[in-house]
Amino acid sequence: MSTPATAEALPASPPAASRLRPHAWWRRLAALGESTPASVGVVIVLAWVALALLAPLIAPYPPNANDMAALAHTTPSRAHWLGTDQLGRDLFSRILWGARPVLIIAPLAVLGAAALGSLLGLVGGYYGRWTDLVITRACDIVLSFPVIILYMIILAHVGSSAWNIVGVLTLTKAPIIARIVRGMTLDLREREYVAAAKMRGESALYIMLVEILPNARGPLVVDMCLRTGYNVIIIGSLGFLGIGLPPPDPDWGGMVKDTYGMMMVWPHMALFPCAAISSLVVGFNLLAVGLRELGLRD
């Protein structure tokens, strides 16, 4: 239908133009400062990322080392700033090391869900008809399932590992992303620049990924931020239920599971990991609130 010559003659499409601005995302990061929730959120999240990265340098003890002498006084002291747990392991060190798996698994699962969900949403919204019907119905079925029950059933069967958790989180979160992307694709596929790309003879995949997806990213970014926060909650909850990351390496939810039964005697053992996970999720969710505000403003 069209020759390469006409494709070059056509003016650059809007998404192509936006890709030409090299420092756009730096400016956007600076714009976060305009919103108080967003800046507080960024500070909290970045602080945790820094603590997780520097854990080998900051943590006063190895995360799994037992200090038997400290068992006599497990409460916070000069030797153990946040005290120790029921096995004499330094809580401060374990909380620092425990930030690592969470900060790897939660964003990784969100990226996986975003990739799978965007693909499903794009294909469904772009092709429509029965393709759309099958994808929408499949997503509805996954969404109708109370996810925590799904996790329990799957993880109890296949065993719990970091990869399995990433897998179930990806599978259960993808339909939500797919729904958002599909809705936007239905609208975007009618735009002139998509028609222009079709005229140029671009492949369907190119149109979906290069013309449509970049224009659907606004709501996606806010949603991915919220998802990361929820994923942190779920990873913690799985650990708390005893189907999270396998011991003995520190995992915030698992640390609470092991010690909340001793709250009458040593409440600090459960309180500190709870404070850690809560602050991280608050960080992600404040960031999402701020991003939404900023998005509404312009």
Partner: protein
């Protein structure tokens, strides 16, 4: 309306079928495990094989799936290996406990979040709005187990006002009512954080509509504008979200139940999953999905009832 119901009913049945098949085949990843679980670690392989054969676990998956469906149709949910009771009895006992928790929580969540959401959304970016938005964001960010630990450390460990467990057996000087306070509070706080933000967002949108401006400009008192014009329209979108909370309240409160040792439905499934009590997992999953799809349908119906434009 009849078509509406037929379509939804069909989807409900279809979903149940798909889920039951998925869960059934998932359980097949560990053949022999059931017999092993029943007999314990010290049984010989021969004993396990015999029991596997007796229970018919060595036959093809499809055959057993069809048999299972037949059993379901006649109301036979199987026998729980973990509780040594018919699945039906186990499920309904735990489900009743969870429904009690869910009903109290739901009765608190709806008025509380409607009030907060409407008050926050009617004047966007006002100080009240900022405070409520921050409150709901923070509360929804704290995992249920952390919320439970925080509340328990204050009211159980420090003040000693409430019991730390809710076993629903009056004992240790605590009534069942006192036992319910903390689990209900945790569920209400965690869940209403989310619902408040949904209602607030919807309210903010409604307040920008022309008919609200008209109502204000023709001199109606602000109170009347909110109650008569904004409220009903602002509840349209969140009503589906609110109905979805029933789903969370019944099947998703496993963490809260675990924190307070509450003998509920979620914890029963967790135990069944850890013990590989297949009959109980399957029936539990079906009940959970049934409730989920049912609340979805109820949400759709509520939407239609609130929005006369669709009723037709």
């Amino acid at each position: 309306m009849a078509r509406f119901f037929a379509k939804h009913l069909l989807f409900l049945l279809f979903t149940l079928l798909v889920v039951s098949f998925l869960v059934f085949t998932l359980n097949e990843f560990s053949p022999g495990a059931v017999a092993r679980k029943i007999l314990g670690a010290y049984a010989t392989q021969e004993q396990v094989d015999v029991l596997t054969k007796q229970m018919g676990l060595d036959r093809p998956v499809l055959v057993r799936y069809v048999e299972y469906l037949g059993g379901l149709a006649s109301g036979d949910l199987g026998y729980s290996a973990r509780f040594k009771l018919p699945v039906r009895e186990v499920i309904f006992k735990h489900l009743a406990n969870t429904v009690l928790l869910a009903a109290i929580a739901f009765a608190c969540i709806v008025p509380l979040s409607t009030l907060l959401g409407v008050v926050a959304g009617m004047r966007e970016s006002s100080r009240v709005d900022r405070v409520i938005l921050m409150f709901s964001t923070v509360v929804a960010s704290i995992p249920e187990f952390a919320l439970g630990v925080f509340l328990a450390s204050v009211f159980v460990v420090w003040l000693g006002w409430l019991p730390g467990t809710a076993t629903l057996v009056a004992g240790g000087g605590w009534s069942v009512a006192a036992q319910l306070v903390l689990p209900v509070t945790v569920v209400v706080l965690f869940d209403s954080g989310y619902v408040v933000s949904m209602i607030r967002a919807s309210m903010v949108e409604v307040m920008q509509r022309p008919y609200i401006r008209t109502a204000v400009l023709k001199g109606l008192p602000f109170r009347a504008v909110i109650l008569r014009h904004a409220l009903r329209n602002a509840m349209l979108t969140p009503i589906t979200v609110i109905m979805l909370q029933i789903n969370y309240l019944v099947a998703g409160v496993v963490v809260v139940e675990t924190v307070f040792a509450y003998p509920g439905f979620g914890r029963m499934i967790l135990e069944a999953a850890l013990f590989k009590d297949i009959a109980l997992i399957e029936a539990g999953a079906l009940v959970a999905v049934f409730l989920a799809v049912l609340t979805n349908i109820l949400g759709d119906i509520a939407y239609v009832l609130l929005d006369p434009r669709i009723r037709a």
